[in-house]
Symmetry: C2
Subunit: 297 residues, 2 copies
């Protein structure tokens, strides 16, 4: 299940409430496009800014509107107690798999992170994807730690934050990690700008931000790479280079993708929880022009 294109939609919200209509619209759009899985309440889904009740509600909505597409649900939280409660909620709400990042406030040690995954996998009956995202969790996995965690029961995939841009180095990085994890544990690339390189280098999945908003665009890259058309995958990704540049400029993909959703009328403005803000003024206009140029809007 945790292969191909896994699309991570936004959870559009404002200071009062979640925009459930917009969220359901995004889910139905992904199901219609035929993505391989839908990942809700990842970083792009702003899980960290929502209450337990809101997260359960989002999970139920996603499962109800995803059709046959499996739904992966983020259960990350700062505290193990909360992670276990979210795991229970996710299973009860029909999640096909869960995604867990070692979210931190106090910096975590390797042993503490291993303990978190041990406690969580012991309670789960659905597969887990290990979510490695140092940009938001501020925890850096060693390959050795990935190897230890991947032995835990139910671990089915690792979402890595990216790969080296040089194809041979990317392939080596993926193969080195693969030697440390059990057969059957898939490796998925995230960091959209590196996705084509990662898929070409042997990643089994792309955990995709852009796929959550523009699924056809991400599917074209994914299907090309899966069919061995590496050059085509790269070309389709390079076509989006101006978008990747904006991701880098704005400290990640979230603000850019949320602004793109607002500009594309797929979410109302504001769509992000304060203190986070979408792009304004000239930056917003430049993104609008770019979406039009790329025929994404």
């Amino acid at each position: 299940m945790l292969t191909g294109l896994s699309a991570f939609p936004l959870t559009p919200m404002n200071e009062q409430t979640i925009d459930e209509v917009a969220f359901v619209g995004l889910i139905e759009r992904l199901a219609a496009a035929g993505v391989d899985s839908i990942g809700v309440l990842g970083s792009t889904g702003n899980y960290a800014y929502l209450t337990r009740d809101e997260r359960a509600r989002i999970t139920r909505l996603a499962v109800a509107h995803a059709g046959e597409v499996p739904v992966i649900v983020g259960i990350s939280a700062l505290r193990t107690r909360e992670v276990l409660a979210l795991a229970e909620d996710a299973e009860a709400s029909g999640a096909s798999a869960v995604l867990l990042a070692p979210m931190s406030y106090q910096p975590l040690s390797d042993e503490e992170v291993f303990g978190l995954y041990q406690d969580a996998t012991a309670r789960l009956s659905v597969p887990m994807c290990v979510y490695d995202n140092p940009g938001t969790t501020h925890f850096t996995f060693s390959d050795e730690l990935h190897g230890r965690i991947a032995q835990l029961p139910g671990v089915a995939s690792i979402k890595i934050p990216g790969v080296p841009v040089e194809p041979e180095a990317a392939r080596e990085r993926v193969e080195r990690l693969r030697t440390l994890v059990p057969a059957g544990v898939t490796i998925g690339v995230s960091g959209d700008p590196m996705a084509a390189i990662g898929l070409n280098a042997g990643c089994d999945a792309w955990y995709s931000v852009i796929g959550g908003l523009f699924p056809e665009t991400a599917l074209a890259i994914t299907r090309a790479a899966q069919a061995g058309r590496a050059e085509e995958a790269l070309r389709l990704s390079q076509r989006l280079e101006s978008l990747w540049a904006l991701f880098r400029q704005h400290g990640g993909s979230l603000r850019v993708v949320a602004t793109a959703a607002e500009l594309s009328k797929l979410a109302e403005s504001p769509s992000l929880p304060l203190p986070l803000k979408t792009l304004e003024g000239r930056e917003r206009q430049a993104l609008a022009a770019l979406l039009e140029e790329l025929a994404l809007a």
Copy 2:
């Protein structure tokens, strides 16, 4: 009010509950020692791992047992919506001041952080201390941003993460910041190993972790510095150098101080929320020996 020794106690807890008896014991110990203020639900108070209800309960307990000592309450959260709710709770529960850090999951921009402080100060009627702690928030304030935020109504103090170790550089750092903030806004040092240097360099307050557990020890340093006995303050701090070394070794003060609380019978074990763990085995024994050597246990 936000001058002198501000002592930050732990919130002892386990997976089931907060150890309210131990917490009240810590508060009464601080009040009896005569600290200048008590800061609950700071990083040492593990605010990030507690629910809104738990935080309100801790605030009420602290105010009820602090006697005449003013209680500063941490209201930090990832989302502005939550910060505003916590501000309301803190005021309703008798907080004399609040402490706000730009806690982050998605990295924050200067404008987003300014907006957070703007929204929070607009709702508050008690003074606010701006909490600058890049080690946990992953946000780095510029002095210029500190200057802008310090103009907001109700901002009464800035808790800076430390000062340069060289006395002249420390003095320059504090004086440079002081030129940017309104008169009357106090500057407090945190990072216990640098506290004596910071107080000697002109900081008005020490926001102290060790002061939350061993108030007499921290008061001796504070009173010496306040009386202009700079050498004595430094000497008293240098006496604790082995403890400061443990703080550095364990990625901050929290695990060391929580272990010290357990060893000193001021908290049950475990006292930290999983996935966080106190020191075990030989490291724990070494700390026990050190506390005895320093006559802290």
